[in-house]
Symmetry: C2
Subunit: 396 residues, 2 copies
């Protein structure tokens, strides 16, 4: 039983030495500090979770197929749920997506991990919007890619930069969030979507279209995904986390058959299958409730909060601070004057009782010192007012 003297040393895979600083878990912890108003996280407002409806759905699952719900199942996911997802694409967007083209995952985050896993060799280039979603940067980093950031203009990713990068870097995929991007809050124009789809046709680069916020447009109107214009070159991921409940950890990905086969294989190795009980609850819930109505109510409320926050940026913060104008989703971005650093705002904000998200983890280069992400979905109007007042003190 001898334990040799001294502390053991552990050897880790090289990827562990190439990870960015992690902010995600820190954010969840900050959000639990009493009295702190947090614009730093990315939580949906739990008051919109339909507890009663979800409980009724769970009751029915227990009653009608309890033992099945608790047993192992196949990797691809519960077929009736994939059918509901397929029907919703048809109804909302007029898209013909067969249930067989869909794989269920544990929320969008798992798609990020598995797409990178099946497509990326160390040193391969991944294109990503600049700024890009930090959860994606985190997931992709484990596969040791070279990141190449694409700056946006008002319509979406700069098309000339994109062209140059596509042909110079031979990237394996381009990751983007065309609907209410996280962190910027920007939405791509339809024209830009078509242009991106068109350009990809000439390359062996896939587009990874992350659509977590497409059902939260303030005007209630859906936007066509890039996938519509080039399905063979696009993987499209979606999630119930923002519109029903994140705790159920259920999302999906639609991909071209050959890609989906590889993805399914990786999913099986990763955790066999997603939580079947949750998949059945969601299916039952979708079949018996108007979930579009709920997400419209949510979007209307988020719009109100976004407007209050935008107005307060203008009223309370220095004129030198610019902000994006979201048309949906949960986030907006501020650009600071050169005299201020985003980490300084973050630390001073915490002291004042308000948390903002510094831009740094959204950049794969040394960017983010002049940008801040604000979340407007998780705070009430009162909290937004108080929080913005506290934030204004930071700039005095």
């Amino acid at each position: 039983m001898s334990l040799r003297e001294g502390k053991p040393t552990y050897r880790f895979a090289s990827c562990m030495n190439h990870l960015p600083v992690s902010f995600l878990d820190e954010l969840f912890r900050i959000s639990a500090v009493p009295g702190l108003i947090s614009f730093a996280g990315g939580l949906p407002d739990a008051s919109f979770f339909d507890l009663e409806g979800i409980k009724a759905a769970a009751d029915r699952v227990f009653q009608e197929q309890g033992k099945n719900a608790l047993q192992y199942t196949t990797t691809d996911g519960y077929l009736p749920l994939r059918e509901e997802i397929s029907k919703r694409y048809k109804r909302r967007l007029g898209l013909d997506i067969n249930p067989d083209e869909i794989q269920i995952v544990n929320g969008s985050q798992q798609s990020l991990d598995l797409v990178a896993k099946i497509l990326t060799n160390p040193g391969d280039t991944i294109l990503i919007e600049r700024p890009g979603y930090l959860g994606a940067i985190e997931a992709f980093s484990f596969y040791r890619p070279r990141f190449s950031g694409i700056n946006p203009d008002k319509e979406g990713p700069d098309i000339e930069i994109l062209k140059t990068r596509l042909f110079e870097d031979n990237p394996v995929f381009f990751y983007g969030i065309p609907n209410s991007q996280n962190p910027s809050g920007l939405t791509w124009s339809d024209k830009r979507r078509r242009e991106v789809a068109e350009i990809l046709s000439d390359t062996s680069c896939l587009f990874y279209e992350d659509d977590a916020f497409g059902e939260l447009f303030f005007d209630g109107k859906p936007r066509q995904p890039v996938m519509r214009y080039n399905p063979e070159k696009t993987m499209l991921s979606g999630s119930f986390s923002k519109i029903i409940a994140p705790g159920l950890r259920t999302g999906w990905i639609r991909a071209p058959p050959e890609v989906l086969t590889a993805f399914n294989r990786a999913k099986q190795a990763a955790d066999l299958h997603s939580n079947l009980f949750s998949q059945m609850i969601l299916t039952e819930y979708i079949q018996t409730h108007d979930i579009d109505k709920n997400s419209r109510q949510m979007a209307t409320e988020y719009e109100k909060r976004c407007k209050i926050m935008t107005d307060l940026v203008k009223d309370l913060l220095p004129d030198t601070i610019d902000h994006t104008r979201p048309v949906g989703g949960m986030f907006m971005m501020l650009t600071l004057p050169d005299s201020m650093h985003s980490m300084e705002v973050f630390h001073k904000g915490i002291k004042r009782g308000v948390a903002v998200m510094p831009g740094i983890p959204f950049y794969t280069d040394d960017g983010g010192c002049r940008t801040i992400r604000l979340n407007f979905s998780a705070s009430s109007e009162e909290q937004i007012k108080t929080g913005m007042e506290r934030l204004s003190k930071v700039f005095e």
Copy 2:
């Protein structure tokens, strides 16, 4: 929106070209063929799932903390659940394991993926029992290791082979299932556990101890894990899949702090956190039910089925067929005479209406042609009798 002519070609990561043939999903599908008796799968008997008790637990979670259960949470897992796991280690095995040493995962399979992810560079050696668990081989393969198989003797992995491999191959970890191994059904002696723990002290190789079956010993007596004898060099994984319900996809891993930190980082990137609703249901269920009693009843029933199957191997199959003598778990292994191939038995069995699991996917070399895995947990006594009669026809 031009789609260029011809089928697009996709580029995949190199690991995709190095995966073994997959059997897992195929098995779940076979298990749905009507009339077929399957000894090929690895399902627990769903009649032991305590539907009523789990529903009552779910009701309470909805009632008392519904909104929290449906919201995002931290990566490490629901603290009260980790506390229950810690308490059970103390009560069952006298082990002091702090809840902080435990990370919740989506069933043991996710631990397999993430451990390999944080420890393995392409070309690194992973030691694994020969035969070894196919789900582990599958998960590890994505990280392109070199596998090195350790044959067992009656007490566990051959200690001389292990020593040689440890010093010649400098492996990153050794993966094994000391309790009722899948696929062999073998259980390591306590002496061997101590020897393995001792040997590892002199190396930088970690032991990955997969304990999915430790609560299903027929005699109801727990065995001390290797971890007890060398906690700094051992990662110990467990699961509720075999003793409560696999559909809830909840397992855990206990690892030394430095390793757990890396693991937690990988878990966050992989899917943020495991299903919180299921974690809360399990916590409530464990706090209000005697789950040890249920697993003892399960083990007693499995023992009966194992004995019937063992007797029928002797009575119905040729004398040239040898079998292991499990003292717990869900599997036994048959060794065929040189004149028969395991794939032949598999294909002929399907035609006769009985599915067995050929040994091939449990070997990382060209082994497995003379071995077959039989599952005895998922079939009733009657099904075992009928299935073994059908199997006997294959050998006529």
